[in-house]
């Protein structure tokens, strides 16, 4: 019997090593240790073993059982490892490109707008919004623009016919005409009428001028405006804000310069020049970037703020112009063509 047991183990060792799959394994396992297996059959012969030999034989059978179990475990381990290996397939070539599209990209105008908003948010400005279809009151009258100003002319701005009805753009007076806003300054008026001072907003958005499209002009373009209303606001505060904005955006080497100018809704008014010769493609010492000034007292009076108590400043600029300067883009039309080779450069 001892010889039979030893032979059983030896045979099992050979047979199990040759197994390739789980069904083969299960069959082999049943053949060895299953209820009708060879070991079970040998164990059933224990009754025929003389009593005095039984302990030794029992021990031998147990040892055999342990040995077979170990062989089975090893065989199963090998099969499982082979199964996992089969799931993997051949090794990948990590240098092959991903066939999936992506990654997505933000438009450069969005990137510049969001960066400006972040910079302004740090100093307490929140982002405001308003309609692109506006009325003459919000776009002109409330901003102190005289009735015969060229911007109010159909030559320069897009108007809607008197029959046009906009369900969710409110008029100030029933007779005024709708037009596409010529600047985001209309948001200043809506914000001031809706809220109370102090106010600190930045309003980015799409604006429209009746203009020929060329390398630097576009029928629609984007602006960004700041409005600050509080007590004792000064010209020096305005200059400090612009120094801060452009220093943050374009680097500490950037200089800003005010040039006296004229806007109907600010007094005094300035055009803002940037000294940024450290930027690519900037050749001129000073580049005009926007307009600003102290809110004209008549604008405050128009929205019901007491000009004796409240003062403030406003600043506006073109986002395309800023993006062109920042990235060194020389044609405004690229922003609207959406050539992927353009869009992917700014992500």
């Amino acid at each position: 019997m001892q010889a039979t047991l030893t032979a059983l183990v030896a045979k099992a060792q050979t047979d199990l090593a040759a197994l390739k799959s789980r069904p083969e394994f299960e069959a082999a396992k049943a053949r060895l240790v299953g209820p009708n297996g060879e070991l079970t059959a040998l164990m059933k012969q224990m009754g025929a073993v003389p009593k005095d030999q039984r302990p030794a034989m029992g021990k031998l059978i147990n040892e055999t059982k342990t040995a077979l179990q170990a062989l089975l475990d090893t065989a199963l381990g090998t099969i499982e490892a082979a199964e996992l290996q089969a799931q993997l397939g051949p090794a990948v070539d990590p240098t092959l490109p991903s066939p999936d599209a992506g990654p997505g990209t933000y438009h450069p105008l969005t990137l510049v707008r969001e960066e400006m908003c972040r910079i302004l948010r740090k100093v307490g400005f929140t982002v405001a919004d308003g309609p692109e279809v506006e009325t003459e009151y919000y776009c002109f009258d409330a901003l102190n623009t005289p009735a015969d100003h060229p911007a109010r002319d159909t030559q320069d701005s897009f108007f809607f016919p008197p029959t046009a009805r906009f369900g969710n753009v409110s008029k100030h007076t029933p007779d005024e005409k709708y037009l596409l806003r010529t600047h985001t300054s209309s948001v200043q008026i809506r914000t001031m009428l809706k809220g109370e001072p102090p106010i600190r907003i930045v309003s980015p958005g799409r604006t429209y001028r009746r203009d020929t499209t060329d390398a630097t002009h576009s029928a629609n373009f984007h602006q960004l405006e700041c409005l600050y209303v509080d007590k004792n606001v000064t010209v020096r505060d305005l200059k400090a804000l612009l120094d801060y904005i452009f220093g943050s955006l374009l680097g500490k080497a950037t200089k800003t310069r005010f040039r006296p100018h004229y806007f109907s809704y600010t007094e005094p008014s300035f055009e803002v020049d940037l000294g940024a010769t450290h930027l690519p493609k900037v050749k001129k010492d000073w580049i005009e970037i926007g307009g600003c000034g102290m809110v004209d007292p008549s604008v405050f009076a128009g929205v019901g703020y007491d000009p004796e108590v409240w003062s403030g400043y406003a600043f506006g600029m073109g986002l395309e112009r800023l993006a062109m300067l920042l990235y060194g883009i020389d044609d405004i039309r690229y922003f609207y063509q959406n050539d992927l080779r353009f869009l992917k450069q700014f992500a």
């Binding site: 999936d100 933000y106 100093v123 405001a128 279809v133 600190r200 000064t234 010209v235 005094p268």
Partner: protein, 818 residues
């Protein structure tokens, strides 16, 4: 406006360099668009010389050695020259040692290839009189040898092309600009001194002009006319021609030139009539009759209307007031007696007329911006002086002066403290006083004010109508102090604890989502064509969204969707061979419903098949359900759960969708709308695009976005194991899965009662074809049951399953598929 530096120097003794002047003008708010140098600069040691001998240079093929006679300026000199365009006997400019040519080019005696040269013969470019030159400047007219070259060349001048802001009509003149520069450089301003002061000495000649009547005084608040008899028309003197030429005007004759000169000097337009040509010897300032005609100086016949003002004689209009004279009333070579008009016209009248006739002039430009009525007579006197000086003649009576009787007086009271408070920094009171006075804003009174520093009563001159309030004087003080000297400061900003506008938050969320899902964000034009909108969207939208005054035909309407723009970008990339599949845009669109337009915040996208691209590994192309997922995410960004909304096939409101392969949710009455699915295959192909394009758009009224997300509450969930049962139902092909799902859920809940919970009902298989009757499909659902307290037994779940089967058989038209 072009300003000549030589001219300005008549009124202010400027010594600053051109660079300093440019900076001063800029900081004064007079934007310098261009600096143009004309004529020759001051050139010392450069003389007229004549080439006597021209020999070949012994050591250089292209050089010559010349003997040049400079006459009184040094006799015969030896000059080595490389130019080829001259011959012996030509007179040319010669720069001798010590001359400094433009560009700081110092001329010395030197050896050139072994030959001594005493100087250089010059080209026009080297002298700074031309941008470009080929060879030496050969002087015409044989000027005397040894003449300093500046006596031969046109006088050098610097012309500043300035952009004048509309609030400063006073700066539309040399005198106005001189006033600003005098104030900046702290120099006195020298006004021209008129000899004629309105006193007419000769006998009256009513046969030349006996009456001026102004019938429309609101359009013409002031009209003056002077008669000058016995003039002789001829060319203007050189100084006058030079001035006009420098600023871009063509000299015509002495009288016309004086008119232009005085306008450019003072800003007051003038007009001269030939007295003979005024029918009835009278002037009538009146509105034109509708349809009345005049042929203007430029030879064009103009039809007038009753809103236009004209200067007429007894019979007909002779001038369109303030804009342009008629062909037949102006001065000509044989004119001997003049009527000189100096008037003020209402700016709105001139502007309206100019715009409607499409006719502008230097005169109309100034009237539109405003001409100071209180300086008009000074300009008339100045013009009389210059006409007498250049054309002779005599001022005779009668002189006419109609209107102009409103006196000017304006005072502003401002304190030193107020100005400092507005500026945010200190400027000494003395400096402010000096600045104001330099601009002829005289201080009528100064009163001490303990708290606010001195209080000044400032007298505003008539040409500064733009100054009306204390704040207006702040700008004047700051301008002269220098806006480049505003001291730096740190931004101080106490927080206002506000949040960004809900629309801004929505835009940011959807952009982040789409870019995060591999879309490329586009920006396209808002204005689209009528044809596109009527083809792709609706006929009514193509009416209601129209602009009144489009600039170009294909940009005449507001966009009702951004999908068209995205398709255009898709096409552009495809045609340029750039692979692209996923594009998106976030922005405003304008939706028309029942004749009302609504401005909406919106986000849209397109998903295209990869075109002509080969890939080493194939991926499944996008489908309807990819579009659905993205639109649901866009809706979720606005707080709307698209899954809970009824979805209907797209009809009507956007023709561009493929029927049976697209869906819509929401309506403008609810404040939002969504469309998604396959774009119409034929229409997409008509754009020149290939393959299937899926798209989606979500739009919402801005006012519906509140920005306030509802605070979520935690709900308990069971830790017990779930029990699953599957049901496959055979239904008609047209039946929507959601209808079946909802019914099944209802039946299951009724079957369970309160015993445990139905956790979910989800469709997991859709089948039609073999094994099923024609027109039928099978929908397989998985139902998940769970109890909060215990493990469910097979028996109780089976019992529920049986009840569900019975109920389906009893109350629905569907069959359980075995």
């Amino acid at each position: 406006m072009k300003i000549s530096l030589n001219w300005i120097k008549d009124y202010v003794a400027l010594e600053a360099s051109v660079e300093e002047l440019g900076r001063a003008l800029t900081l004064l708010g007079l934007e310098v668009e261009q600096i143009i140098r004309t004529g020759a600069p001051q050139l010392d040691q450069v003389f007229v010389g004549e080439v006597l001998v021209r020999d070949k240079h012994p050591n250089a093929d292209k050089l010559s050695v010349c003997q040049v006679d400079l006459g009184s300026a040094g006799g015969v000199k030896t000059i080595v020259c490389g130019a080829q365009n001259y011959k012996v006997g030509d007179r040319v400019p010669v720069a001798l040692a010590g001359a400094v040519l433009p560009g700081n080019f110092v001329i010395k005696q030197s050896k050139i290839r072994g030959q001594l040269s005493d100087g250089m013969m010059c080209s026009a470019k080297e002298l700074g009189v031309a941008e470009d030159a080929d060879g030496l400047l050969i002087l015409d007219g044989r000027p005397a040898l040894g003449t300093p070259i500046n006596a031969v060349l046109p006088v050098g001048d610097v012309v500043f092309d300035l952009e004048i802001t509309p609030n400063r009509p006073d700066c539309q003149s040399h005198l106005g600009i001189a006033r600003e520069l005098a104030a900046w450089f702290k120099l006195p301003l020298i006004y021209p001194q008129e000899k004629f002061r309105g006193k007419v000495e000769g006998a009256a000649h009513p046969e030349l002009l006996h009456n001026v009547s102004v019938l429309s005084p609101e359009d013409c608040p002031l009209y003056t006319a002077h008669i000058i008899k016995g003039i002789k028309i001829g060319p203007s003197p050189a100084w006058l021609r030079e001035r006009l030429t420098a600023v871009g005007l063509r000299p015509i004759n002495n009288v016309v030139d004086v008119g232009n000169y005085v306008m450019l000097e003072t800003g007051q337009p003038l007009h001269a009539f030939d007295a003979r040509k005024l029918g009835g010897h009278q002037i009538v300032v009146r509105r034109a009759a509708d349809g009345e005609k005049i042929t203007t100086l430029d030879g064009k016949e103009r039809t007038l209307s009753s809103r236009m003002l004209v200067i007429a004689d007894a019979a007909q209009p002779v001038v369109i007031a303030g804009i342009m004279g008629g062909e037949n009333s102006g001065v000509s070579d044989d004119t001997t007696d003049l009527v000189l008009e100096c008037a003020i016209f209402r700016r709105q009248t001139v502007r309206w007329t100019s715009k409607h006739l499409g006719l502008t002039s230097d005169s109309s430009y100034r009237y539109e911006r405003g001409v100071d009525p209180h300086s008009a007579l000074e300009a008339a006197y100045r013009a009389v002086d210059l006409i007498l000086e250049t054309a002779g003649g005599q001022v005779v009576g009668p002189a006419f002066h109609v209107g102009g009787d409103v006196p000017w007086k304006r005072e502003i009271v401002v304190t030193h403290g107020y100005i400092c408070d507005q500026l945010g920094f200190e400027i000494p009171a003395a400096e402010m006083r000096t600045a104001l006075e330099a601009l002829e804003l005289s201080i009528a009174r100064e009163e001490p004010n303990a708290a606010r520093g001195p209080a000044w009563t400032v007298t505003v001159p008539s040409w500064r109508d733009d100054l009306d309030r204390p704040i207006d004087l702040v700008e004047e003080v700051l301008r002269l102090h220098g806006t480049d000297k505003i001291p730096p400061a740190v931004v101080s900003s106490p927080g206002l604890i506000g949040d960004d506008d809900p629309v801004v938050l929505f835009n940011r969320r959807v952009t982040d989502y789409l870019v995060g899902h591999d879309f490329h964000e586009c920006v396209s034009y808002t204005l689209r064509s009528a044809k596109e909108i009527s083809t792709w969207v609706s006929q009514t939208a193509a009416v209601e969204l129209a602009l009144a005054n489009p600039f170009v035909d294909d940009q005449s309407h507001l966009r009702p969707t951004m999908i068209m723009g995205l398709l255009e970008s898709l096409k552009l990339n495809q045609s340029r061979g750039v692979p692209v599949t996923q594009l998106c845009e976030v922005g405003r669109i304008f939706i028309e419903r029942n004749g009302q337009n609504y401005e909406c915040a919106a986000a849209g996208f397109v998903l295209a098949e990869p075109m002509g691209e080969r890939s080493w590994l194939k991926r499944e192309p996008a489908d309807f359900y990819a579009a659905k997922k993205h639109v649901a995410a866009l809706a979720a960004a606005a707080g709307i759960d698209l899954v809970r909304q009824p979805l209907v096939p797209v009809t009507g409101s956007f023709y561009g969708w493929q029927e049976g392969h697209s869906a819509a949710a929401g309506e403008m009455a609810q404040g939002w709308t969504a469309r998604f699915g396959l774009l119409n295959l034929a229409m997409v192909r008509s754009l020149g695009l290939e393959g299937k394009i899926y798209a989606g758009i979500f739009a919402i009224l801005p006012e519906k976005l509140t920005g306030e997300a509802t605070r979520r509450r935690y709900a308990d969930f069971s830790l017990m194991p779930a029990a699953l049962r599957d049901f496959a139902l055979v239904v008609d092909l047209a039946v929507q899965s959601d209808e079946v799902r909802k019914t099944l859920a209802k039946i299951a809940r009724a079957a369970i009662g309160n015993a445990f919970a139905l956790e979910s009902v989800e469709v997991f298989d859709v089948y039609h074809g073999k094994g099923l009757p024609e027109g039928k499909k099978s929908l397989a659902f998985s139902l998940v049951f769970r109890s909060a307290e215990r493990t469910l037994t097979d028996d109780e779940v089976n019992a529920v399953g049986q009840k569900i089967q019975d109920e389906i058989a009893k109350s629905t038209p569907w069959q359980i598929r075995k």
